[in-house]
Amino acid sequence: MKSWFGDAATRDNDWCYEWLPKLDKPYDVLQVFELMHQGKMNGYFAQGFNPLASFPNKAKIGAALAKLKYLVVIDPLATETSEFWKNFGVFNNVEPSRIQTEVFRLPSTCFAEEDGSLVNSSRVLQWHYKGADAPGEAKGDAEIIAGLFLKLREMYRKDGGAFPDPILNLTWPHLIATSPSPEELAKEFNGKALADVTDPKDPTKVLAKGGGQLAGFAQLRDDGSTACGCWIFSGAWPQAGNLMARRDNSDPSGLGNTPNWAFAWPANRRILYNRASCDSAGKPWDPRRKVIAWNPREKKWQGMDVPDMRPEADPEQKVGPFIKNPEGVARLFGIDRMAEGPFPEHYEPFETPLDTNPLHPAVVSNQAARVFKGDLAQFGTSKEFPYVGTTYRLTEHFHYWTKHVRLNAILQPEQFVEIGEELAREKRIKSGDLVRVSSKRGHIKAVAVVTKRLKVLEANGRKIHTVGIPIHPGFKGIAKNGYIANTLTPFVGDANTQTPEFKSFLVTIEKV
């Protein structure tokens, strides 16, 4: 809160917590586009995001975007979303005169055209450097957002508004107000001391000087004397400098750990729950591969990684390795964390080729999943659509971006779908034939690739054929235009993360 609202955030006003909007339900992309489809949203910002191509049921996404008053697209590329209103023949057959959405396209830099940090799934934040200037009028995302913010703040200052406080009091400590630098933003998420931060055990000992960068989240205080934009990243830019820019690939332990390469959140810890590598007495399960161990002489945990627990917690205190669970141990069943469960279960996809669930016919699909009104009617049956459709990427492509890259377009130039040999025989389809693949929600046309790799599956006494549908084609870029694969996919997600059911739905296929 101090990082956002600075001096305006005080103990007396509860650090401005009341200023923050509160969620009344999850706002995942399916929920947002459902609301948009209902006409309950005025505007939408698509920042580095191509929802028309990426989200399920393209017809619904397009209809939803057409109900907006405005759409802002911040992207290095011209995306299908940015031209959802334009007619591209069979690939996007819309009537522009009937779409009133005002679209603003703000060209941004791509990752190679800016300094900054990238974080990967190993939790490593790695600084990277600009390799080239951005073309044309493209600006960095921070510069674009700064422009919007400064304009909004000016309007609130001049004209007031229903609730100007959070906008007027937002901290904006940037040297160039219109262009916050990546270094400034990184220092901000690391956090700094607003006053001297002292050791709770010894108040005469100053851990971080007022005005200086914090060494890590352990130095954060709840009395307003520290500010931090993102506690898990704290420690990435301490007083010593930008640890994300470190490039020391030495592996002192010989176990494949490079603690001085960039920075891993949290606390530069490379292995989460590393206490689990030791037995209850604090001895490594495998002495040849010691990650950490309890040192009884020094009374602390030591090793090649940062211990994932209080470093002085004696094993006799029985602090478990899974510190985020009150019981300290791992869980086989997520009793209070999952929408369904706790026991492992099998549900059929909402569109199933079996028409039943072989385990329990009364409950076929996940009852905890959220299906919006209207989408249920858009689910097909195996009678009409007998084959399983599944979508994926090709190794030659990266999502929808590489439509704009000639090299990738040469490697895989045209939309295709894959089917097994048996289905091909049944349908009299040969490799190279043009086929139409349809689901309850629409159809695409593509070249058939008949392959031995797709086998017939047998389940519940039925033969199940699969139609493989690579995503990538669309109608913007230099690759051959094609249909958006998500024309076919159903608008429903899993019950916990709301990840759409891109991988299993029902289609039919015929030679054109």
């Binding site: 000639r406 090299l407 040469i410 490697l411 130039p413 070249v447 058939a448 690739v449």
Partner: protein
């Protein structure tokens, strides 16, 4: 085949100098296609290295694209599905190219540890896996 007995100049997926570097009068490029993952990185690298851009073609029902070697495509990958025994499908992926580069971009781009450039001549190679090793001098 034991790599240390060869004078390997370079190898893929590795930044370290391979063992046995001496004078390198003759160069053979060896590709263990049984290790190939079919990513076409070599094909892309060949186009970039030699500044070639073929036409954006059409899909004809296979993964191979462009369909054949040409003045603008010096490397193409070929994909064959073979099931000699039922249930034992092999996806045989072969790198086809002119093999004339002394300093090949395709080798640098290969992420799988299966391509080497060595000083042995093609004729001296006892091909352990004839079907899966392509070599030229």
């Amino acid at each position: 085949m034991a790599l240390q007995s060869l004078d390997i100049q370079r190898r893929s997926a590795s930044t370290t100098q391979p063992p046995g570097v001496r004078q390198t009068p003759k160069v053979a490029k060896l590709i263990d296609v049984s290790k190939c993952i079919g990513c076409k990185a070599c094909q892309t690298a060949c186009m970039e290295w030699n500044d070639l851009r073929d036409d954006i073609g059409a899909t004809t029902g296979v993964y191979d694209n462009p369909r054949d070697l040409s003045e603008n495509s010096w490397t193409v990958m070929r994909y064959a599905e073979v099931e000699l025994e039922k249930g034992k499908l092999e996806w045989l992926i072969r790198k086809d190219g002119c093999m004339h580069c002394a300093d090949p971009g395709c080798l640098k781009a290969c992420p799988a540890p299966g391509a080497t450039s060595s000083t042995v001549t093609a004729s001296s190679i006892s091909m352990r896996r004839t079907a899966s090793v392509a070599a030229t001098a």
